[in-house]
Symmetry: C2
């Protein structure tokens, strides 16, 4: 399951995508619309900004706005940013690789091999689906 953080990130991105023409949008507007704690959302939006998805403006009339095309934002990137690995095991993660402590020889591990296949199939979906797909369904 996605963490709330990631789920909220998707809600916020969707909101910003729907209101693209309206310039900077307040954290508060999003947090009220989706019943999300203001401060919690603040942290999330900041991460999304640092990762290059959002821009922001400080001060009066400030807020956040999308700086990428929705179709250029695959689900996989958001999930990795906020939730970490997409792979089901650390030993098959492309971006967060770690060997399994209990395994002496990953080369001979059948679980490892199968999970590589699962990862690749999962990635196909999560890289293909983008914010645009979410927007198209609203």
């Amino acid at each position: 399951m996605l963490s709330k953080k990631t789920k909220y990130a998707f809600h916020a991105l969707t909101y910003l995508g729907k209101n693209k023409d309206q310039g900077a949008i307040l954290i508060q507007e999003i947090s009220e619309f989706h019943n999300i704690s203001h401060k919690f959302l603040e942290n999330i939006l900041l991460e999304l900004k640092k990762a290059g998805f959002l821009g922001s403006k400080k001060g009066k009339g400030g807020g956040y706005y999308l700086i990428k095309e929705p179709k250029e934002i695959p689900l996989s990137r958001i999930i990795r940013l906020l939730d970490g690995p997409i792979a089901l095991l650390p030993c098959v993660s492309l971006n967060y690789y770690e060997p399994c402590e209990e395994c002496e020889n990953q080369e001979q591990c059948g679980l490892n091999k199968v999970m590589i296949e699962v990862r690749d199939e999962t990635l196909k979906i999560l890289e293909m689906k983008t914010l645009q797909d979410i927007l198209s369904n609203e």
Copy 2:
């Protein structure tokens, strides 16, 4: 990512699958082979037994053994049993459905719709891959 519980379950099932002919196998044998805490593994094997994957024998000469064909044990069933939902959101889970608190109208939620597609694609893989696939790779 899978919890350790689920990962250990796969290791144990694989071990039992590889040693199918040898009758009942001790928890201790598996826990030592895979460096898993004996007591923790005990709980896991018990769950697998209650769910109908394993049989057991008490007392001297006792232990656990597979009672299903490896090809009849899809990854999805083990993951669901020990980790819960496969879906990325509660509102699209087939086995553990819950509405999202922050959503007033799930019918109009684009995230919901996209995550249903992701779930269906993910399930295709996890239902197709079985313990047999893990065994074949060792």
